[in-house]
Every structure is written in structure tokens, then in C-alpha cells.
């Protein structure tokens, strides 16, 4: 929190504002509707600094317009609406005068992380930045009050800020923020103000319209792929279809001489055609027949990987957790339940395929792209270009989906290498096929779970053995010498159920297939494993899955709040009829607890239709309920795509699915009715909202399929499971 206080005192680029701002009438619309909404420009970035800055997050112009900078990127999750709302909460400003931009990564580099990490991963937007943003707003407001008090020669305690004006209560004098900003920026406060407590919130918690909607209904929002730089050429790329393989040779003749084709560029593991239009580059590329050196990896396939992960379950493990005495408990007899579960690789399939535009000059590199991690992007760009981080300018655009994929910028590295060869600004675009076959995938995994049930049916011991690809090793983030990474064991190591003895073992195993963060990461498969298995235990104990969970969560009021909400709202226990079933799941991740009940119908042919999903979330506090609702709906659909269809398979070392015809995703016809409820526990909890919704969907659906058919689903996706039809 001190970070803000420091910056606001050491602000640069201050220009004295004119004193001409009119007094005028107070505008009393506290939370304006759409007509008076704040705004954002077609491109999300602006200049790094502004003339009338009160601190790095805030500038107020003489006309009263307020610029708020968002330290996180917009990829659909609502960051650039929710985060400015937090600043505005404390600032006491007129929301309709707010304009929002991305905070500048270059400035963040220069000013020692004044905006924090700026990563848009791990559902971190609100939960890691809320205090910093409240403080930025509060500190600015107190300076504005102090500036007014000084001008009137009265104590600041006699003045009040509201709706972009400071008023002296006794005399009724008042001044607009625009007239005070210049003075405010020069003020040093003895002490930074304390930030509000949630019971004092006025704007936070309101269903305010998203600021980016107007740009996204008329085609004006600029994504990276929309970048136009004078003199730019287009690049289409084909990387070696086997990960880790190299380019041996390519005969350029078929591309040469075609209309618009400028150059064939050979990278160590890819062929690139550069042309005056993207389509011409792509067509010429399709004519080339590159020879690849694919090595041993060229003989691998998904069946081998499945065996690798299953075999790993029988070998040595590193314990992430070992409470009580699992072996003793199993020795004591009682009912033993054991099961192996599996999950496949998944692609992110962001709607906007990866692409980057770069303009490389001798001492400067400009990049237009969609990045979830702009500070990392600067480092990657520096490495690829040979320039210094200070020479890199990242124009981060609206992201056409991220889901984790845009946290490493493979497309930018290629574009920079091509630009070195071509000497012109380059827009490099991955086709959907390139995007799907050169993703960094959700890791494949197998898990064996074993539990002993006591005489009362409740588990006395739980033993989980996890075999999964390491994300940190694959991305090069960390060698993981301990043998355990949090992503691999999340949901297991922190299993919420009261079980006296719990052991969680893990063995990380990577193949040549690159793996990475995929919306809700380890929770995306581990919630499926744990919550399906808990259902198995409930069945073995002869108990209702909701009541069984309830008993195991006794005393955890936040979990129970979520669980009871979904049970009540979904009419849990009310008969559904032939071929239909309900399944329940609850999971904690990214600081939030998500619960879902899915209702399914299974046809005589064994086809699964999800009719309804009832979700409840405890993210502690809610900044904007409209955004929370949308994110849960979004998470459910993303999770449902994976549950019904999601599967990337490998044959001869290469990905078999190349486009949406082969990698099916949920469309309107598959979309259930989705109800979202808040079950907030408040207090110190500020949970994330972008990812939790995804984690609980697969197990809720799988458990519903069990309820409808009696068939237990132990691997994903459902399209591969032969269901007998209704019981």
C-alpha cells in the first residue's frame, strides 16, 4: 500500500492546470446508467504519462475528466471496468467523467513496479490489486480535499468530497476536481488516508455497465489482429508439427514469384512466407513442403502417454501432504474404495488466433499484441530482438480471449525474428490450424484415489497419487527441484473435507508436448477427479451426495453457504424423472469457493444434454455483480466444452485436431440455462472470479450423468464414454 503513497509524491510531468474550470451546478447522479457511463477508447493503451497526474493511476484534467489506468488487461473478464470502479469508489468522482486506459508496462519497468506485477493470470485482477487501487483513489481524494481547504483557508476536516466536487460544509463553497487537480498533485499529506471498509462501499457492489461494451457492438474495439502500421507486411507461419523438431530444408520455389509474395523466411523450427497481404502469404505457404527433423518424438502418441501416466501411478511419488496415518487407517479394514481417473490435453482455442505486429528499428521495438503478462512480454521481446528492455514498447490491445494462452508470446518471438530478416514492420498471424496445433496445452493427467470408510460410512483415510505434466518445467519458469508444483496438486493438497488421514503424492512427468496454464489450471482436472470421487464415496456409503459433502464440511460456514445455496436453488432431492439426473460439485480455487449443480438428460442413445446449471460462488466481496455473473456463466461454458468434447490427441508426435470441426466446443444448442447466485462470506476474503466457474462444471455434469444412468465417468471428455442410456 505504501507503494502508492510514494509514487504520488514522486509524480513527474506535472503541468499547472488552468484555473478556468467553472463552478457550476453539482451533478447528483451517483451511479449513472448507460447514458452516463465512463468510457474507454478503441485502443486500450494511451500515452504513458498525462499532464495532470495526481498519481500513476490517476490524472484529472481542468475540465474535470478523469483518467484511470488499469494495471490488468481486458480479455473479457471485465478488468477495465471493475478495477477503475475500485479507484472511483474512494475518489468520490462522477463516474461519467471517467476514462480508462491500460497502465503502461514501460512505465512500470521504469518506475519500479508502480503498477504491481500487471499479470492477468490466476484470477488475480481484483484480488491482488484491490487495496492498491482503493489507496490510489483515497490518496487522490484527500489531496483534492487538502487543496480546496488550503484555497479557502479552512481545516480539511471541514471539507467533504462527493461526485467530483469538494465542498466546505459551513459556507457551502465548492470546487470541481478539475479546478483542484493541479494543486492537489503538489500536496504532500502527513499521512496517507486509511482505505474504506466494505460496509462503507457505495460504488463497489453496484451492477455498473461494462465500459468496453460500446466498442464491442460496432466493431471498433482494436484487437492485435486489427493493427495497421504504415509499410507493414504480413507473415504466415508453419512451425514444425512435432514439438521440439527442427526445420531441415524447404524448397522455396513454389512460393516464389506468386503475386504479392516478398520472401520466404526460415526459422530454426518454422517456415514463414511474407507477402503484401495475409491471404497471399498463407496461400503461398500452403504450397511449400518443408522437411522436418522430428527426432524420436515423431513416434509418440496419446495412447503411449496415457500408459506413461497410468504406469507412473505405481512408481515413487513426492508427498505434497501427509496428515495422520493413511497406511494405518487402511490396515484397520472397513470398506475400501479405489479408482483411477484420467484427463486429456486441452487446447485454449482463444477466439482470436495468436498474432503479433512488430516494428523493429535499430534502437527501438514496438509490439502490438494481446498479452496477459506485459512485463514478461518485455523480457521475451528483449531476448528475441537483442534490444534492452527499456527499448521495448508494448501496445497491449484488447485480448480476443486469453485463458492462460497469452501468458507466453510465441507468436511475438516469431514476428521479431521475421522482422529482423525483412526489415519492415511485420504482422504475423497464426491460422486457426497453427494456433490449435502449436498451443501449450492443459497437461494430461492420471490419478489414483483410495479411501477407507469407517463404520458410519464416513472416510477415515484418503490417499491420492497424481501423475501429471509439469507446467513450470515445460514453460521454463522453474525446474521444480522439489518435485511438487502447486498447480499439480491444487484441489488435492487443500481438499476441504474433514478426513483424519490424508496423503497426496505427486510425480511430474513431461513429454515433448508443451503444457501450460489453462483456465483454472490444476483445478480444471483436479476438481473433476476429487469431486467425482467424493460422489463415489457417497454412493459407497449409501448416502446422498449433497448430505455426504455437508457432513464432511461441518463447521466450514463459507463452504456450507455455497453448498446449501446450490442445493436449495436447484431443488436438490426433487425427482427429475426417467433419463434425467442432478450432480453436485464444490471446489475452492483462486481464493473463491464455487459450487454447481448440473441437471442432465441422457437420451436412449446415450447422448448427454446439460439442461441447467445452478452455480453459487463465494468470492468474499463483489465489485460488480454483472461481471461476476458473466464470468461464472463464461466459466461454466468453458468447462462444459471440455467436459463434453475437449480432447487434444497426439499421433506421430503431432496434434490431430486442427480446427473447430475437430475440436468441438459448446455453441448455443449445447448451452444450458445457467443461474448464478452469490453466497458471500465477506470478511478478509477477496477471491478471484475468472477461473473458478470452469473448475466445478465437469464433475457436476459427470455426477449428474451417474445419477441419470448409473455409469460413473472416470475420464473426459464425455463424447468418448459409452453410456447405456437411462437406468
Amino acid at each position: 500500500m505504501n507503494r502508492i503513497a510514494n509514487t504520488s509524491i514522486t509524480r513527474r510531468h506535472f503541468v499547472i492546470a488552468s484555473a478556468s474550470a467553472a463552478g457550476g451546478l453539482a451533478i447528483s447522479v451517483a451511479f449513472p446508467g448507460l447514458a452516463d457511463a465512463a468510457s474507454i477508447g478503441m485502443q486500450a493503451w494511451g500515452p504513458e504519462t498525462a499532464p495532470n497526474e495526481i498519481n500513476a493511476f490517476l490524472a484529472i484534467d481542468p475540465d474535470g475528466s478523469i483518467l484511470i489506468r488499469s494495471p490488468h488487461q481486458e480479455m473479457g473478464q471485465g478488468a477495465i471496468t471493475a478495477l477503475p470502479m475500485i479507484v472511483a469508489e474512494e475518489l468520490e468522482c462522477d463516474w461519467s467523467k471517467v476514462k480508462v486506459e491500460y497502465a503502461s508496462p514501460a512505465r512500470n519497468l521504469r518506475e519500479k513496479n508502480v503498477y504491481g506485477e500487471m499479470t492477468t493470470v490466476g484470477s488475480r485482477g481484483v484480488r491482488t490489486s484491490w487495496q492498491m487501487l482503493l489507496q490510489a483513489g483515497a490518496s487522490a481524494r484527500e489531496r483534492l480535499i487538502a487543496a480546496a481547504a488550503h484555497r479557502w483557508n479552512v481545516p480539511p476536516s471541514e471539507c467533504e468530497a462527493a461526485n467530483s466536487r469538494v465542498t466546505h460544509k459551513a459556507t457551502g463553497r465548492s470546487l470541481d476536481y478539475g479546478a483542484l487537480a493541479a494543486d492537489a498533485a503538489k500536496i504532500n499529506l502527513d499521512k496517507e488516508p486509511a482505505i474504506r471498509t466494505p460496509d462503507q462501499f457505495k460504488l463497489i457492489g453496484k451492477r455498473v455497465a461494462r465500459l468496453d461494451t460500446p466498442l464491442k457492438i460496432n466493431g471498433s474495439a482494436k484487437f492485435a489482429i486489427d493493427t495497421q502500421v504504415p509499410g507493414m507486411v504480413y507473415a504466415a507461419v508453419a512451425a514444425c508439427p512435432v514439438f521440439g523438431g527442427k526445420l531441415k530444408s524447404v524448397d522455396e520455389t513454389p512460393a516464389k514469384g506468386r503475386r504479392g509474395v516478398l520472401q520466404v523466411v526460415k526459422l530454426d523450427n518454422a517456415v514463414v512466407v511474407v507477402a503484401d497481404r495475409f491471404w497471399r502469404a498463407k496461400e503461398a505457404l500452403a504450397l511449400l513442403k518443408p522437411e522436418w527433423d522430428v527426432g524420436e518424438a515423431g513416434n509418440t502418441d496419446s495412447a503411449q502417454f496415457a500408459k506413461l501416466y497410468r504406469d507412473t501411478l505405481d512408481g515413487a511419488m513426492v508427498n505434497a501432504r501427509n496428515d495422520g496415518n493413511v497406511d494405518d487407517a487402511f490396515g484397520k479394514g472397513g470398506k475400501i474404495v479405489e479408482a483411477v481417473y484420467e484427463a486429456p490435453h486441452l487446447a485454449h482455442a482463444t477466439m482470436e488466433p495468436l498474432n503479433a505486429t512488430v516494428h523493429l528499428q535499430a534502437d527501438k521495438l514496438e509490439v502490438w499484441l494481446g498479452s496477459q503478462t506485459p512485463m514478461g512480454t518485455i523480457r521475451q521481446a528483449a531476448a528475441a530482438s537483442g534490444l534492452k528492455p527499456e527499448q521495448i514498447v508494448i501496445h497491449n490491445c484488447f485480448l480476443g480471449g486469453g485463458f492462460g494462452r497469452r501468458s507466453i508470446n510465441d507468436e511475438m518471438r516469431q514476428a521479431i525474428l521475421v522482422a529482423k530478416d525483412v526489415g519492415k514492420p511485420v504482422k504475423l498471424v497464426w491460422t486457426r490450424e497453427e494456433d490449435m496445433t502449436h498451443d501449450r496445452y492443459r497437461p494430461q493427467a492420471a490419478v489414483r484415489m483410495k479411501a477407507a470408510l469407517g463404520a458410519d460410512g464416513m472416510p477415515t483415510a484418503f490417499d491420492a497419487r497424481i501423475a501429471v505434466g509439469s507446467i513450470l518445467r515445460s514453460t521454463g519458469i522453474n525446474k521444480v527441484e522439489s518435485g511438487i508444483e502447486a498447480q499439480a496438486v491444487e484441489g488435492f493438497a487443500n481438499i476441504p473435507y474433514a478426513i483424519p488421514s490424508v496423503r497426496v503424492g505427486c510425480m511430474l512427468k513431461n513429454t515433448h508436448v508443451p503444457v501450460m496454464f489453462w483456465r483454472s489450471v490444476g483445478s480444471s482436472q483436479n476438481a473433476f477427479f476429487v469431486e467425482s470421487y467424493i460422489d463415489e464415496l457417497a454412493q459407497a456409503a449409501g448416502q446422498d451426495p449433497y448430505k455426504f459433502r455437508r457432513a464432511l464440511l461441518a463447521g466450514k460456514s463459507d463452504f456450507l453457504g455455497v453448498l446449501d445455496t446450490i442445493a436449495v436453488k436447484s431443488d436438490w432431492g426433487k425427482p427429475l424423472g426417467q433419463g434425467r439426473g442432478r450432480g453436485i460439485a464444490i471446489h475452492e480455487c483462486y481464493g473463491s469457493i464455487i459450487g454447481q449443480v448440473a441437471e442432465v438428460t441422457v437420451s436412449q442413445k446415450g447422448e448427454v444434454k446439460v439442461d441447467r446449471v445452478v452455480a453459487a460462488v463465494d468470492c468474499g466481496h463483489v465489485v460488480n455483480p454483472g461481471i461476476v455473473e458473466a464470468q461464472i456463466q463464461s466459466g461454466v461454458i468453458y468447462g462444459l466444452s471440455a467436459a463434453l468434447y475437449g480432447e487434444i490427441t497426439i499421433k506421430q508426435g503431432r496434434v490431430e485436431q486442427a480446427n473447430f470441426d475437430e475440436y468441438q466446443v459448446v455453441r448455443l444448442a449445447d448451452t444450458p440455462k445457467i443461474e448464478v447466485y452469490l453466497a458471500l462470506s465477506g470478511g478478509k476474503k477477496w477471491g478471484g472470479i475468472g477461473e473458478p466457474g470452469t473448475a466445478a462444471t465437469a464433475p457436476a455434469v459427470a455426477n449428474a450423468v451417474f445419477a441419470a444412468t448409473g455409469t460413473r465417468v472416470r475420464s473426459m471428455p464425455l463424447k468418448n464414454i459409452k453410456l447405456p442410456g437411462p437406468v
Partner: protein, 151 residues
């Protein structure tokens, strides 16, 4: 030279006749509201209107739309006041927004055929992909737009 009209403006273009309409719109005309998502008529991000009908522009060649009237998202209305756009705004549909030009163009054409759609009509006829999963709000927005268009 191939002649066509885009958003009421006539163009004469020197491009290969097999160029997909999508890339003509984006790279020749510089209108970037129409998006590239798959290139094989699967996702609908590239949906435009050809003589009023919804068409996936990645999969139609410019030679086949010569002399026709093309409408892109930029030409749907001058001020984003088309009832479908207004409904999208009121329901706060977009998330990342990348698919939304195509969703809106598909919905506009759909509502001409189905002025009073049921959910079943919507589900059966609208097949555009949204990876952000805005489908629940798309349904509500289409019903809202239908109501707006009636009045």
C-alpha cells in the same frame, strides 16, 4: 477488377477472384470489425451480410460476390443504434468481444426470418462460436431485440 459495394460505397478492386471476402474486407478495405476465427466456416466470427443474408465471409470468394451489396458490422448502423446493437448493449453481452461482430450480424439476419423467436429457434439457427461463453446473454439479447423491433 472486381466491383462490389460495401456499406453503401462502391469499390473496384484488383484482387485475385478466389480471395476470400473476409480478407478483402480486412486487408484491402481496412475494415477490421469483421474477424478471422477459423477460416473454414465453423465459427462465424467473419459473418457479414451479402444482399441482406448472413454469410461466413472467410468461405466465400470475392469473385462470387461481385456486384453484390455487402454489409459489415461497421455499416449495420451509423451510430450503433440498430435494435440488435441496443439489445446487446442493454444486456452487456460481450466479454472479450472478438466474436461479437459476427454474433450481431448473424442475429440481425436471423431476426428477419424469425421475428418472434423461441429459445429453440435461436439454438437451432445460430451456430456462431463464442469461446467466452456469452450464450446466455446472447439469448436474452435476441429476445430483447425482437421486442424492440416490434415496437
Amino acid at each position: 477488377m472486381i466491383a462490389l459495394t460495401v456499406n453503401g460505397k462502391a469499390y473496384s478492386l484488383d484482387v485475385e477472384s478466389e480471395t476470400p471476402l473476409l480478407w478483402v474486407i480486412r486487408d484491402e478495405l481496412g475494415m477490421t470489425g469483421t474477424k478471422f476465427g477459423c477460416g473454414i466456416a465453423q465459427c462465424g466470427a467473419c459473418t457479414v451480410h451479402v444482399d441482406g443474408e448472413a454469410v461466413r465471409s472467410c468461405s466465400i470468394q470475392i469473385g462470387d460476390v461481385a456486384n453484390k451489396n455487402i454489409t459489415t458490422i461497421e455499416g449495420l448502423s451509423p451510430d450503433a443504434k440498430h435494435p440488435v446493437q441496443q439489445a446487446w448493449l442493454a444486456e452487456d453481452v460481450p466479454q472479450c468481444g472478438y466474436c461479437q461482430s459476427g454474433q450481431i450480424m448473424a442475429a440481425v439476419a436471423f431476426l428477419k426470418e424469425h421475428p418472434k423467436p423461441t429459445d429453440a429457434d435461436i439454438d437451432a439457427n445460430l451456430t456462431n462460436i463464442c469461446r467466452c461463453g456469452t450464450y446466455v446473454r446472447i439469448r436474452s439479447a435476441i429476445h430483447r431485440a425482437a421486442a424492440l423491433m416490434k415496437t
